[in-house]
């Protein structure tokens, strides 16, 4: 297992290199705007634009720029400076990780707990009213766009612009280190909004898996042993049916840690997604590159974690 993890970590490095290269190439092959131009502001004289282009190294071939970028990154963990804001990229992005992690981890807890609960109840009460209601609700939650859901949640429940003033509204995110209570209350609506579609998806996934699992021979064995039905369902049924759920959750969390753009945007949580969105608007290559690398890092690490976790969840799986 140890060797397996080391080998996988080496692959992570290779993958990140490839990702950075691809981002670079994409930016040059399909440029969205001229960074020197943007940096120079309104009606700049062409001389200034050229000077800026030169001073930022944008007049060099892309591979030279890429080499310089990677050199600084590898040797000094330096992601460069933002073209648009002229601030160091590393701090700009790393500052955004904690808000995103707060949002994603909290939402994941919520969607896993509710998704698993609803999925289990639905599977056990298959075809009954509660199952039909839950699955109908799940379908709605899956098809509701996050941005719309976020706005509706704000218009209904936000303490500033809502109909009923219950939860703090957009832009109220407070770091947990500043005030844990405010941190928690400010994230309640975002957690619910982000978790809704995932909870629905996971409920459906688990329901399907569990219905299949409950017809397995070992469930019949468990019942034949005289176990209580609750134990049969939870310890024997859910224990098996949950494996793909955990796998999916690992990957989803990994993807979201790279930025939950829509939820962050609608609730104005200063996370990686906002940074990424903003950087694309501004054609800010150093930040785009940084957020893409961070996102890719989380995804490959999540993949690794999921694979390792799989071995713990399913004793039949062995890596070498």
């Amino acid at each position: 297992m140890g060797r397996y993890i080391v080998r996988r970590l080496l692959w992570v490095v290779v993958l990140l290199f490839l990702v950075s290269l691809i981002t670079f190439i994409v930016f040059y092959a399909f440029p969205t705007a001229d960074p020197a131009q943007l940096r120079a502001g309104r009606q700049p004289n062409p001389q200034l634009v050229e000077q800026i282009r030169h001073s930022l190294g944008l007049d060099k071939p892309w591979y030279v720029q890429y080499f310089r970028y990677m050199k600084a990154l590898v040797l000094h963990f330096d992601f460069g400076r933002s073209y648009h804001y002229n601030v160091p990229v590393r701090k700009h992005i790393l500052d955004a990780v904690a808000p995103t992690a707060s949002l994603v981890v909290g939402a994941a807890v919520l969607w896993l707990v509710s998704g698993i609960a609803v999925g289990t109840i639905s599977a056990v009460r298959r075809g009954k009213l509660i199952d039909r209601l839950s699955m109908g609700g799940a379908l709605v939650a899956i098809s509701a766009p996050v941005y719309w859901l976020g706005l509706v949640a704000l218009y209904l429940f936000a303490s500033d612009i809502g109909k009923v003033h219950i939860f703090p509204g957009a832009g109220s995110y407070t770091p947990i280190t500043d005030d844990p209570v405010k941190w928690f209350t400010s994230l309640i609506l975002p957690w619910i909004v982000l978790a809704a579609s995932f909870a629905a998806f996971y409920a459906r996934l688990l329901r399907g898996n569990l219905i299949e699992t409950m017809s397995e021979d070992y469930i019949r064995t468990a019942r034949a042993k005289g176990l209580r039905e609750r134990r049969v369902v939870l310890r024997h049924g859910v224990r098996s049916a949950i494996t793909p759920v955990v796998t999916a959750a690992g990957l989803d969390i990994g993807i979201l840690l790279g930025g939950a753009i829509l939820t962050e945007k609608v609730f104005n949580i200063p996370g990686v997604g906002m940074v990424a969105f903003d950087s694309i608007q501004n054609a800010d290559l150093p930040i785009i590159q940084g957020t893409v690398l961070l996102g890719a890092f989380f995804i490959v690490i999540a993949n690794l974690v999921v694979d390792v976790l799989y071995a713990f969840l399913d004793p039949r799986v062995r890596y070498a």
Binding site: P31, T32, A33, D34, Q37, L38, R39, A40, G41, R42, Q43, P44, N45, P46, Q47, L48, V49, Q51, I52, H54, S55, L56, G57, R81, S82, H84, Y85, N86, V87, H92, D95, L151, L154, D160, I161, G169, A170, G171, K265, V266, N268, P270, M274, V275, D278, Q281, N282, A283
Partner: protein
């Protein structure tokens, strides 16, 4: 007699406006924390040398620094700030002498130092450096003696900026420059003092990092650790201004009521606008007008919280005169007659957001009144509030299209991909369709539209429906020179999007720039306004308003100088 009565009434009206501007009938309350909700990143940079946009002026330029000349909210001429008086002009308009107040202090860590003329000289010089990225130095300071040599690296200083003593700044130009002699272009943030010995180490390298270590002279400062490090700024997220203890109120014209000003970035525009209207202690942020839906509901139920100010800017549809059939002036006039300016305005929210334009210059610009005022110069094709199709067809026939309709190939058009600009473009498309025009309409993000297509002559875009332009310091020159002077056609970042290069027009512009008598200057520019309107290089459709939103307890004061954005040093809480 009549005349003087009118001037008394006018004076009273101005007084009323000023009083209103100073706090809803003198009801300004001192103190408190105001929050401003931005939808995008807010300010672009902490570096005064970079500031050129409304947000930079509003959020940093006015509250945190003193310039040589500042701008009172309702005035269209500069007020001495660091300077003690308007510039003294000599040598036939080629030498400008500015005296500077003594005893103006910097914030920590330079709290023991006072502002010297040399600090302003350095500040102006560094605006020429590529690592600072200033956008206007060549337009306004390019004719300062020795500027060329400095730009080319042949001189370490600009010889035309001199400091005979600590409180005197002398600027020598190669020819008389109205924007300098009037003090207007010295009312720009390149004159925010920056001590050379402190800043120089940050000005080295690819991009200057001075902004992260800036010192302040204004009533407020960006929160910092007192050791020269900014702590109150997270790019795109937050900006916190606190009182500057070194600021001396008795030397400043600004009341600076608030104790603390907090900017929060990244809001959804609708959410931000609603929050501002429903919540306490908030002013609207980096959007010139709220989303159409909020504007409509605000107008019906919260009209007193909407502050509508002419922004001094316009919106126009750009036509490329190098592309057939737009090279024909009568085709351009036909298009001008064919568009329905009222329904175009509807796409952005209706009458609140601006006045239907009858010529190119917006109100407030020197030369606007001379050019016909709101009624305009009387060109029928430019002043119809709705489509005038018969007139348009008449011009088409004049242009050689006997049927009165265009029958050539579709015209390449680039527009914004987001509302409301996108809707404006689409409305335009259907309007000119009636004249037989077909558009190859491409919708892309705003920044891409400008920097990759509409401002790149090589891209050969025929029509760009989402242009707007605003003047710097009410200067008619800044409305005309960059947009219509042939010498300003450049390969990228080209704002002369019509690609007009008419020697007669160029000469007329160059001549107007050197007229230093205000009345003669206004007349000369008004004549140019008439020319470009008659030529229909652009289809000007509105003169923009800025629609500010304020919470019920706020008394926001818009700054005319800054396109109608809030002047946070005059805004306050209601008593």
């Amino acid at each position: 007699m009549r005349r003087s009565l009118w001037s008394i009434i006018a004076a009273l009206a101005v007084l009323a406006l000023v009083v209103a501007g100073c706090g809803g009938g003198g009801k300004a309350k001192k103190g408190g924390t105001v929050t401003i909700l931005d939808t995008e990143g807010g300010v672009d940079s902490l570096d005064p040398g970079y500031w050129y946009y409304q947000d930079d002026y509003k959020s940093l330029g006015q509250p945190t620094q003193r310039w040589l000349y500042g701008w009172k909210p309702n005035e269209t001429t500069p007020t001495p700030d660091l300077a003690t008086a308007l510039p003294a002009v000599s040598n036939g308009g080629r030498t400008i002498t500015v005296k500077i107040r003594s005893g103006i202090r910097y914030s920590a860590p330079l709290q023991t130092r006072t502002v010297k003329a040399a600090d302003i000289k350095y500040a102006m010089e560094r605006c020429f450096l590529p690592q600072v990225g200033n956008g206007y130095y060549h337009s306004y300071y390019g004719d300062i003696a020795g500027a060329d040599a400095f730009t080319k690296g042949k001189a370490k200083q600009i010889s035309g900026i001199q400091v005979p003593d600590a409180t005197t700044l002398v600027i020598k130009t190669t020819k008389p420059i109205f924007v300098l002699t009037s003090g207007r272009a010295l009312g720009m943030p390149c004159t925010v003092p920056i001590p050379k010995d402190y800043a120089q180490k940050y000005d080295k390298g690819k991009t200057s990092t001075y902004g992260e270590h800036a010192v302040f002279t204004g009533p407020y400062m960006v929160q910092n650790d007192g050791k020269g490090n900014i702590t109150g700024y997270e790019a795109g997220k937050t900006l916190t201004l606190v009182r500057n203890p070194k600021w001396d109120k008795s030397t400043d014209f600004r009341p600076a009521y608030f104790d603390r000003i907090e900017f929060k970035g990244g809001f959804d525009a609708t959410v931000a606008a609603r929050k501002t209207l429903t919540g306490p202690r908030m002013l609207s942020g980096d959007y010139a007008a709220p989303p159409v839906a909020v504007l409509k509901s605000g107008l019906s139920s919260r009209k007193s919280q909407l502050v509508i100010t002419p922004s001094g800017g316009n919106r126009y549809i750009g036509l490329n005169t190098r592309i057939k059939p737009l090279d024909n002036v009568n085709v351009r006039r036909a298009l001008s007659a064919a568009i329905d300016r009222t329904s175009l305005r509807q796409t952005r929210g209706g009458p609140t957001i601006g006045t239907i334009a009858t010529h190119f210059f917006p109100p407030g610009i020197g030369g606007f009144e001379e050019g016909g005022g709101v009624q305009g110069p009387g060109f029928a094709f430019a002043s119809s509030p709705t489509a005038n199709v018969p007139l348009a067809q008449q011009y088409m026939r004049k242009a050689g299209f006997a049927s009165g309709k265009y029958a050539g190939p579709a015209l390449l058009t680039f527009a914004d991909d987001a509302p409301p600009a996108k809707e404006t473009a689409e409305a335009f498309q259907s309007q000119v369709g009636k004249l037989g025009f077909k558009l190859k309409l491409r919708e892309v993000p705003h920044a891409t539209m400008l920097s990759k297509y509409c401002e790149v002559p090589k891209a050969a875009v025929a029509i760009c429906p989402n242009f707007g332009w605003g003047a710097d310091f009410f200067s008619p020159q800044s409305m005309i020179d960059p947009l219509f002077n042939g010498k300003n056609i450049v390969p990228t970042g080209n704002v002369n999007t019509a690609q007009v290069n008419d020697p007669k027009l160029n000469a007329q512009i160059e001549k107007a720039k050197t007229i230093t008598d205000p009345a003669a200057s206004a007349k000369a520019w008004a004549a140019l306004d008439k020319v470009v309107t008659n030529q229909s290089y652009f289809l000007t459709w509105i003169w923009d308003n800025n629609v500010g939103l304020e919470s019920k307890d706020m008394n926001g004061v818009p700054s005319k100088f800054n396109s109608g954005e809030w002047d946070l040093t005059f805004s306050s809480f209601k008593k």
